[in-house]
Each structure stands twice: as C-alpha cells, then as structure tokens.
Symmetry: D2
Subunit: 139 residues, 4 copies
C-alpha cells in the first residue's frame, strides 16, 4: 500500500491560455510538484540535499500518461492526490488525481527513476536501483 | 496519409531545471506549439481568427502520452516532427517526435478535439465533429 | 492609505533554473498573481466576471521595476506583500515586497491600467479611467 | 560601443493569457534568452561550460526595468535587439528592445552580475568583478 499525499494548487491567471482555461502543461508541472511534495511528506529530503549526501539529483520522467476530463480556470483551488501505484527494480509509477471539490479535473501516471550523474561524464544522468530505504518510507 | 510538419525549438536556460535538463512539461508546451504550427502550415487560420468565423476556440487536449528517451539542455536546437496518426468522429490523435539531430529525445501522442463555447453557457466548452474541410487540408 | 494583502507562494522545483535558484520571471508571475489576489481580497470579482459585467479584461502592465536581493529555491515558502502605492487618472502603481520569513527576497512596482477591448477593433485593448468604486474598495 | 545581437522569438499559444495577449513575464524570459544569446554570439561559452572552466554559473539579475508599449499575440514573430549599455566594476546593464517589424512592443534594461558559488557555502552565490576578457569580447 502506498501513502497518499494531497497537494493544493491555486490556479493563477498566468496559468491559463487564450481560451481562458488552464494551459495543459501546467497540470504536468503541478503533478511534478506533487511528486516531490509526496516524497518530502514521506520524510525524504529535497533533491538539493540528497544530491550532496547520496548523489541523487531527483526522479526524472521516463513516461507520462494524462487524461483531461474537465477544464479549470484561475481563482479555483485544485487538489492533487498523489500515490505510488507500483515499484519496479529501477523505476516506479506514481499516480496523480486532480480534483476541484468532488469534480475530477484530470488524472495521470508518471514513470520515474531515481537518477545520479554518471561518474565518467557528469553531463549524463543514469537511473539507479530504487533505494530500499526510500521505498520503505513511501509505503 | 497525414502531412508531416517540422517545428524547430531552441532550448532556453529558463526551460531547464536544477538538474540542468529540460523541465519535462516544456516538451508538452513545444508539442502544443507544434500542433498549431502543423495546422497553420496546412492552411488553417490561428484560433483567434477561427473563433470569429466559426466559433472554434482551438483543439483542447483529452489525453497525452509521452515517452522521454534522452535529456536535452539549453543552447540545443530540437526538431518536433508532427503528423496526425488517426481521425475519429469527434477527436483526432496527433503524433510528435522530438529529435536533436538524429537522436530521439522524446515522442508522444495527443488526443484532441475541435471545441466551441457552449451556446447556453459560454464558460463551458464542448467538442464538435471534426470539420471535413479542416481534415481534408491536413491529409 | 492602501490595504495590504499577503499572498503565499510555495516555490516549486520547476520554478528553478540550472543554477538551482528561482528563474526570475517567476517573481513577476507571482507578483501578477498577488496583484489579482489583492483585488479579489478587496471584493473585486475575477476578470472573467468583470469582462461580462463591465467589459474590463484585467489590468495589463505598462511598466515593471524589480530589484532582486536574495535568491530563493524550491521547498521554500515566500510571502508577497501587495499594496497600491499611488493612483493616477488612468493608471495605478502597485507595490510588491517578497519575503522569506524576515529575509527580503525581492521587491518591485508595477504600473497597470484597467483595460477594455476597443469597440471598433476587439483585437485592440485600451485603458479606461480608474473606476471610482474599485478605487474605493482598495483604500 | 557594444555589439548588438538580434534574437528572434515566435510567440506561442501557451505564452498568451486569457486576455489573448502575451503574459508579460514571458517578455522577461525572452530577454533572458536574448541575454545569453548575446554572450554566445560574442564567443562566450554557455554557462554549463563556463561553470566547469571558471566557476561562473551565469549572470543572475540584480534589477530589471521594463516598459510595455504594445501587446503581442501568438503566431507573431518578435525580434529582441540586445546590447550592453554600460559596465560597472561588478555589474553591467544590458538593454533589450523588442519589436514586431517596425512596431516597438516593449523595451527594458537588466542589471546583472557574473556570479560564482561561494567557496565556503556552495548554496550561496556571489558576484565577481566583470572578467576583462569577457568584456573585451562584447565590445
């Protein structure tokens, strides 16, 4: 079982497009924020700390899949409900459900991996096995 | 057969995150830009014109699915190769392949619908059948 | 005397750049959000309501002036303290002071005008005299 | 005398707000991109190279001042004309004029400093004297 974390978002004027609704990549941005908020709520330090102690720069995305059900606009408050759907050896699937009150706005999954800089070429990053202690904190 | 349009993107410093790589929602933004560039290259006016003549406010997203293969960073030029994979009655699936030279950076599909404002409630938008003339221009 | 409104911002990973600090245009975005939050806290409806009742599309910017004193990063909470410094016939100067606890992060002023669409050319917008009732609500 | 560099920007749908015009912080983003493009056009490597060879992480902003003259919208191409207005011991003032054809859209100045990470506390950054060789390349 995964923990579930709820992250609140206040939609801003500048998050919306000429159609007056949230420009959809912002939903991905909010899911990313909710992803880190989930880990921090589980007791894991922010990446800028973890990069110093363990070399982990974050959890870059391998894949995203999002369905948009209802539009949202500025002045509204949304809730992102975040959990971890499944763990693999080197990746995990995080799930985000975004609601406005009881209305489902959008939902999606992200496949992510804990990554470090390559020792031979610091411009490259590579996935590491999911750390057991981090996994334990999230479940 | 769909036409294919190539949209160039120069990655900016501000598009990148503390890991030094493109913050992934920007790929969605560039695919959105490439989507409109595709339609305009096919001879369809920008949405701000189409809303006046036909009420069409754009092609909001119903679903996105993206795979991230390689990281990219600022100072690099990317190409988004855009086509339409399939048409349904009220939706269509657009495909975007983002490359840096011959290197595949990411690829994804979007399900979109041509939308108008609801006559009874202009705050709501709804999908209309894909206009035949627009479809003809894209194929 | 102007009212003062405090708007809270949680800095996100995606708000930061490869130097690991807030990408500065985001401070402008937060000031813009704080500007609207100020008006709404004073009892003025959001622009999407006001455009229907009075044609006012918002308060576009004529000028901004911002000083950046300290860097901020993700995981931090900032407070934007917003007030109106002065009113002119068709413009007003809004002031924003952004703090992290007692630390001053940045501060700036914006010159804005209440704008409507031009009756003869809806693609153009033009400033109107500051509405007295709105001014009264803010002071 | 400063060199002048011209950086082109294609305005995207997602750069525009519910009023249908460019959301103003994007002008700051484009000026930032034009700032780096100016230095690279003068023969200076991107910051991710310079940080390795000389510790310089970039040119963070101390102050910005921008005037917005005309609105712009998506589908338009803008030109950012960038030069260096003046040099001080540890700072410089960069000037950006943004045009659409012959129409002035906005113009502004930025005060920036070349910065390195503090040796004692890598979370802090500090300004260094403007490097003579970089100054020479820009004039």
């Amino acid at each position: 079982m995964s923990k579930v974390h709820v992250h609140r978002v206040e939609v801003c004027f500048g998050d919306c497009d000429p159609a007056g609704i949230v420009f959809f990549p912002n939903f991905s941005k909010w899911m990313d924020t909710a992803s880190l908020a989930f880990f921090m709520a589980c007791g894991i330090p922010p990446w800028r700390e973890l990069v110093k102690t363990r070399g982990i720069i974050g959890t870059p995305l391998l894949e995203i899949h999002t369905k948009f059900i209802q539009a949202a606009t500025y002045g509204e408050t949304l809730e992102v409900h975040t959990s971890i759907e499944s763990w693999a050896a080197k990746t995990f699937r995080q799930r985000h459900v975004i609601k406005r009150g009881d209305t489902l706005i959008c939902e999606g999954t992200e496949v992510r991996a804990f990554c470090v800089r390559d020792a031979d070429n610091p411009d490259r990053i590579r996935a590491i096995p999911v750390p057991d202690d981090i996994k334990a904190l999230c479940t």
